[in-house]
């Protein structure tokens, strides 16, 4: 079974600064996907970024980027130029490909507060 661990229950950052959220996972699979989802106070789950394990290049999506270290099973999210609207819970998630059963396994979340 896969497990996903987010070791930082809460973090805060000043507006316009950079913050990094940590995520580690455990799996014996070689091919899988990793995701970061954002959950604002409305509780909607919004996809932030995804990474395919077979790709060495780290995914980037505007101000959001990841540091994917496959050997270390680490998948951190960097938010640059933090904005007040980035305040939310952030969940790291793991899935196998569809042909292997692709339920998402979530970490416990990190609550990020962006301060003005």
């Amino acid at each position: 079974a896969q497990t996903v661990t987010q070791s930082q229950p809460e973090m805060s950052v000043q507006e316009a600064e950079t913050v990094t959220l940590s995520c580690t996972y455990d799996t014996s699979e070689n091919n899988y996907y990793l995701f970061w989802y954002k959950q604002p106070p409305s509780r909607q789950m919004i996809l932030v970024i995804r990474q395919e394990a077979y790709k060495q290049q780290n995914a980037t999506e505007n101000r959001f980027s990841v540091n994917f270290q496959k050997a270390a099973k680490s998948f951190s999210l960097k938010i640059s130029d933090s904005q007040l609207g980035d305040t939310a819970m952030y969940f790291c998630a793991f899935s196998r490909p569809k042909n292997a059963g692709n339920m998402l396994t979530f970490g416990g979340g990190t609550r990020l507060m962006v301060k003005p």
Partner: protein, 116 residues
């Protein structure tokens, strides 16, 4: 941009009653999922559905739960006899079969279920 929709946004029910939560997945998606999130806890997988049958389910998804795709657009989750511990946010998600992102799950806004 197409999105997953869910109704109702909030459902209040008495213990022992049956509830049906409804979802309309993104139109060209073929894989459907239900997740739940008890307040303050992590998001948990319930069930995945493809080609008119359950493809994977978790231990939470016991005989009290069922899913159905009654027509070409809706995907429902039924809880036969609700318990207090079923109170949670229920998320529907869907993913497409082909490229460009076949394994990315897109979430609806959730239905908050309160069992009294």
């Amino acid at each position: 941009e197409p999105e997953v929709t869910q109704t109702p946004s909030h459902q209040v029910t008495q213990m022992g009653q049956e509830v049906i939560l409804r979802c309309v997945p993104i139109s060209n998606h073929l894989y459907f999922y239900w997740y739940r999130q008890i307040l303050g806890q992590k998001v948990e997988f319930l069930v995945s559905f493809y080609n008119n049958e359950i493809s994977e389910k978790s231990e939470i998804f016991d005989d009290q739960f069922s899913v159905e795709r009654p027509d070409g657009s809706n995907f429902t989750l039924k809880i036969r006899s609700t318990k207090l511990e079923d109170s949670a946010m229920y998320f529907c998600a869907s993913s497409e079969e082909g490229q460009p992102s076949p394994d990315t799950q897109y979430f609806g806004p959730g239905t908050r279920l309160t069992v009294l």
